[in-house]
Each structure stands twice: as structure tokens, then as C-alpha cells.
């Protein structure tokens, strides 16, 4: 413990405190009082200073501690006297303290930023999960075409987000990865539903093969004069009506 500051603390306390008699306290209904020694207060100040320095990444030397404690004494005094703090502190220590404080502030800021990004990513992912779930549910009611369109739109939306340049701090990369994963997942989903509906998604579709038929020559045939065999089938009115009502939702 740095004894040289002990007197200062004691003086400070003496000047900042008022005296009350035991009788007076008793009159106020008090039976016991808590007592703290000025040396204990000093030791509290010292350990608080140590903690602060370590938290800022500084390993305090005895000299550091002495300087900071001295300036806290100064603080105490100045505050007690209603003066602006920092006056009369060793400028080098003051600079280091300010630096440490600024650094701590920056770190805190970054931390808050990352936390915000993370929770934003979590929120977006939850949102996409929810959208996917809704689409799953809607898949049971919507027409296949609309469903595919919606999925396609959603996926390109997500891919758009995922391919935006990553510039921010670490959290953003994570966010993009997450969204890209979700995009891939949706892509698979789209392909799967597409396969089920019997429609391949655009990416999977083969090159336009109509070119193959450019080569098909005009062949001589009697197709124009030979009638196709025709039969009558039972009508599909009921199916069309139901389809319409399901599509229109009534």
C-alpha cells in the first residue's frame, strides 16, 4: 500500500465529512454505525485503479499506480472544491489515461457494433426461416407457378444481399456467409420443388434446344391430308372449376 497517499486521503475525508455525536445518532434512532478506515478507502482506490489499467491492457508498474492514485486524489480534491478535474495532473499520465480511456471507449463501441450486427444477422436469418416456413405452408395451398416465382424472387433477393461487398468489421463477413448459406438452402429448396412440380429452375434448364430443330428439314409428307385419329373424351369442366376456385381462393 502506498503510505504516502494515506494522509492525503485522511485529510480529504476529514475536510469532506461532518462530525456527528453518538447521542445525536441515537436520537435519530440508530443503534449501530458502520465504520471504514481511511487506509481501506485508499486501498479501494488503488485496486480500482489497477483493475482499470489491466482492463485497458496496461500492466501497471508501481510508478503508474502512484501517478494515477495521485491524480485520483487530485480528482477527489478538485471535485470537492468544485474545480474542473485534471488540472495539475502530470501531463504524460494524463495523456496515457486519456488514451486508455479513448481506447476503452473505441473497444466498447466496436463491441456494441458487432453485437448489433450479430443480432441483425440473427433477426434476418429468423426472418428468412420464417419466410421459408411460410412458403412451405403456402406450398400446400398455392398454385405451383406462383410458388416458384415467389421462391425465385426471394432467392435472387437473398443472393443480391449476399453478394454486396463486405467492407465492415468481422461480423459482416459472418452475416454474409450466413445469408449466402440461406440463399443456397433456398436454391436447393427451389430446385427440389421445381423437380416435384416438373419444372426445372432456370439454372438447371439446358441450353435452348430449339436450335436442334432449325436443322430439321421440311420433309415431304402427307400429314396435311391424313386426318389424325380423334376420339371424344369426358369433359374436364369440374377440374377447371375446382382449379379456378383453389387459385382464386374462393
Amino acid at each position: 500500500m502506498s503510505n504516502e497517499f494515506h494522509t492525503d486521503v485522511r485529510d480529504e475525508l476529514a475536510s469532506r465529512s461532518t462530525k456527528t455525536s453518538v447521542n445525536e445518532l441515537r436520537d435519530r434512532g440508530m443503534k449501530t454505525v458502520r465504520v471504514i478506515r481511511s487506509s481501506q478507502i485508499l486501498s479501494l482506490i488503488e485496486s480500482a485503479v489497477d483493475r482499470a489499467l489491466v482492463e485497458h491492457g496496461l500492466i501497471p508498474t508501481d510508478g503508474d499506480r502512484a501517478a494515477v492514485v495521485a491524480s485520483s486524489q487530485g480528482f477527489l480534491r478538485q471535485m470537492a472544491n468544485g474545480e474542473q478535474p485534471m488540472g495539475g495532473i502530470d501531463p504524460e499520465q494524463q495523456r496515457r489515461l486519456l488514451e486508455a480511456e479513448a481506447e476503452a471507449e473505441a473497444l466498447k463501441h466496436q463491441l456494441a457494433e458487432r453485437e448489433a450486427e450479430l443480432s441483425q444477422a440473427e433477426a434476418r436469418s429468423a426472418e428468412l426461416d420464417a419466410e421459408l416456413r411460410v412458403l412451405h405452408q403456402r406450398a400446400e395451398a398455392a398454385a405451383p407457378d406462383t410458388l416458384l416465382e415467389e421462391l425465385k424472387a426471394l432467392r435472387s433477393d437473398i443472393q443480391g444481399v449476399a453478394t454486396q461487398p463486405a467492407g465492415g468489421p468481422a461480423g459482416e463477413g459472418e452475416l454474409n456467409d450466413k445469408i449466402a448459406d440461406l440463399g443456397k438452402e433456398l436454391g436447393k429448396e427451389l430446385a427440389r420443388i421445381g423437380r416435384k412440380v416438373g419444372i426445372a429452375p432456370a439454372e438447371e434448364a439446358p441450353a435452348d434446344m430449339s436450335a436442334l430443330f432449325n436443322e430439321v428439314p421440311e420433309l415431304e409428307s402427307n400429314l396435311d391430308t391424313v386426318a389424325p385419329k380423334e376420339t371424344k373424351g369426358t369433359d374436364v369442366e369440374e377440374a377447371l372449376k375446382r382449379m379456378k376456385s383453389l387459385k382464386g381462393g374462393n
Binding site: S210, K229, V236, M243, L246
Partner: protein, 377 residues
């Protein structure tokens, strides 16, 4: 009658790969001049008022469904096959008089559709079928003009430019690595070239569109075709599960042919010749029944397995219908045997009714038609 005539032909043609199917017999019946006249007037039919057509591109048959002015449905069907023959001017006019479609290519004449089978029998030749197991193979490029003509013949001209046409495509197969993407792209390209706006539609899904309207398109549709079985579990129009099995009528024919030591064309004839699956007579018919039962249980097993492993299967709280369609269901006793095999299984979802499609051969093209008209609405 017809079947006797066919029997005589097919008995003498053990080298042919195919024999005429009974439901297509008659396409080379000579036509009276009056018929020719009426045929000619029908040759560019534009009877459909509703925009949109349904097209079933099958291994064995190609069918078009269109809606007439009175709301009725017209179905045009052609066999997906052709045969090349030596031809001269005389045979051309002869074929036209007989209402037999042909095309001339590099000095060869190709008879297309059902007539090819009958001529194949007469000439002791094998027809060429450009599709196998539900798909056109990239190796069949030289057959494309013929396939295109068959499609053109059934589909006719578009009623309006870019008329929507939904065409059936098989689902991914559980037992073979089928290249659906090529098949789908190829027919999309072909149909665009013909002036249509094509959309592929899963074959089993099409069955549900045609047959499950009263159930709000919820249930299981199965198409038992020539090259494959296509299955779709649908919930309110949305396909929750589709898959195909690379077994169908052709598979039955070749297996029956193998065990009986006869060509598969004869097995086809035997199979289509009026057997009752519930009451087989003799070793040959027993063989057909064995493979039919095998095909049915294999299909049911696969639906079951997919339900068990399926991640996103809908929960069917209400019992659903199973509808069977396709040429392979045309045999007598099919649905009874299906129900019998079904009752031996512990099926994962409640099923209320197992039935045949209203018109099993037309279900797929009608389902495609429903989709096409609905898309144009």
C-alpha cells in the same frame, strides 16, 4: 374380328420387336372414299375454343387433349413409333388413300404412328421406338424429325400464337439414372419451334389434375405406362412427392417373353389379349400375372419408403384416394389385384378409395389440358 386378324399377323412375325396393340388396331383399315373426304376436311381441325392444349409424350403413345366449343374434349392419339420402307410415288398415293401417315427423308419413306406396327408385321420387320423408359435418348437424334411429325400430327397448329401447351415428363427414377433435363429441354425446344409456349408437367401430377378434382387435387396419382410407372402424391394441387420407376408395360412384356421363351412382341399380344389378372388360365397367363403383381408391389413399396424417409411430406389427416391410370391398367382385374396387394401392406397414410381413372389412357393428356387452360385463364 380385329384381334383375329392381328393374331394371324403377329404369329407369323416372330422377328418383329413389336406387335400392334389392340386398342390401336384399325388405323390401316382401308377407308372408303367418303371417309377420305371427311378426313381431309378434318385435317386441320381448329375446333378448340379454349386456349391451351395438353400433350402426353409417352414411351408407347403420344396424345393430345383439346377442349371443343361445347366444352367437350377431343383426344388425338398416335403410337410413338415409325418404320422405314422402300417407297415410290405409287406407294405414296396408296398410303395417303389408306390414311396412313408417312414422311420422306433421304429417299426413304417412313410410316409413322400405329400404322408402322401393322406394316412391320406384314413386312416381318421391327418398328423403331425412339423412346425408352419414358425418355428420348440423346442417341436418337436422327429420329427427331419423325417424333416431331407425330407430335405435330396430334397437336395440330396452335390456335393462337404461343398457345400454352403442357406436356408430360417423367419424374426422377428411383431405380435408374434418367436424364430428364435433356428430354425436357428437347421437347420444350421442339414445341417452341412449332409455335407453342411449352411447359413441362410431371406425369403423375397430371393424373391428379385429371382425376382428383372432387378431392381438391389431394391424393395419389399413378400412371402405369409402357416405359415407366410415374407416381405423384399431391396436396391441394401441389406435388409433395414425385418419382418414377423404370418398369412398365414393356418391362412386363420382356420378362414374360424371357420366361416363356417368346419374343416380347408376342408377350405384348398375349398381355393385351383379354387376360383377367384374377383368373389366369395356363402357364402363359400365370406369367403375366406374376409380373403384374410384382410391378404393383414394387410401386407400393416405393411409395411407402418415400413416405417413411420423406422430410416434407404433408400430413394427411383425412384418408386420400389412389387413382391409377395409363395403358398398363387396361388389363382386366388390374384394380382388384392392386387393392389386394395394397391390403397386404401396412401403408403409412390412410387411404379411402383405390380406383381407376375415368379414362385411364387419357388421364395424363387431360391433366395437362387442365393445367394449360388454367394457366391461360
Amino acid at each position: 374380328m380385329e384381334s383375329d386378324q392381328v393374331k394371324n399377323i403377329s404369329d407369323g412375325t416372330t422377328s418383329t420387336d413389336e406387335v400392334v396393340s389392340q386398342d390401336f388396331v384399325g388405323s390401316v383399315e382401308p377407308v372408303e372414299p367418303s371417309d377420305v373426304a371427311s378426313s381431309v376436311s378434318m385435317s386441320t381441325p381448329q375446333t378448340n375454343v379454349a386456349v391451351g392444349k395438353g400433350l402426353d409424350i409417352g414411351t408407347a403413345n403420344i396424345l393430345t387433349a383439346l377442349r371443343d366449343a361445347d366444352g367437350g374434349i377431343t383426344i388425338r392419339r398416335e403410337r410413338n413409333a415409325f418404320l422405314d420402307i422402300d417407297g415410290d410415288v405409287h406407294s405414296r398415293s396408296m398410303l395417303t388413300r389408306l390414311n396412313v401417315p408417312y414422311v420422306v427423308r433421304e429417299d426413304r419413306m417412313y410410316v409413322i404412328g400405329g400404322a408402322a406396327f401393322e406394316l412391320a408385321n406384314i413386312f416381318g420387320r421391327a418398328t423403331r421406338r425412339p423412346m425408352h423408359d419414358g425418355l428420348i435418348s440423346p442417341a436418337e437424334v436422327d429420329a427427331l424429325p419423325m417424333v416431331q411429325l407425330i407430335i405435330q400430327k396430334t397437336l395440330g397448329e396452335p390456335a393462337v400464337p404461343n398457345e400454352p401447351v403442357y406436356f408430360s415428363v417423367p419424374a426422377e427414377s428411383v431405380d435408374c439414372d434418367n436424364n430428364i433435363i435433356y428430354h425436357q429441354g428437347l421437347f420444350s425446344g421442339m414445341l417452341s419451334k412449332l409455335g407453342y409456349a411449352p411447359t413441362p408437367m410431371n406425369e403423375g401430377h397430371a393424373v391428379t389434375f385429371a382425376e382428383l378434382a372432387a378431392q381438391d387435387f389431394t391424393g395419389i396419382g399413378i400412371s402405369f405406362g409402357g416405359g415407366m410407372v410415374n407416381c405423384c402424391v399431391s396436396y391441394k394441387t401441389i406435388p409433395a412427392l414425385t418419382f418414377s420407376i423404370a418398369r412398365g408395360g414393356d418391362w412386363i412384356d420382356s420378362n414374360v417373353g424371357n420366361v416363356l421363351g417368346i419374343p416380347s412382341s408376342k408377350a405384348t399380344y398375349l398381355k393385351e389379349g383379354g387376360i383377367d389378372l384374377r383368373n389366369p388360365k395356363g402357364r402363359e397367363e400365370e406369367a403375366v400375372v406374376i409380373y403384374y403383381r410384382n410391378l404393383i408391389t414394387y410401386t407400393l413399396d416405393n411409395i411407402k419408403n418415400r413416405f417413411v424417409e420423406g422430410r416434407d411430406m404433408p400430413n394427411f389427416n383425412e384418408p386420400v384416394d389412389i387413382v391409377c391410370a395409363g395403358g398398363t391398367t387396361m388389363i382386366n382385374g388390374f384394380i382388384e389385384v392392386f387393392r389386394e396387394e395394397f391390403s397386404k401392406q401396412k401403408f403409412p397414410i390412410p387411404v379411402s378409395n383405390i380406383r381407376l381413372g375415368e379414362e385411364p389412357l387419357n388421364s395424363v393428356c387431360k391433366g395437362c389440358l387442365v393445367a394449360a387452360i388454367s394457366s391461360a385463364d
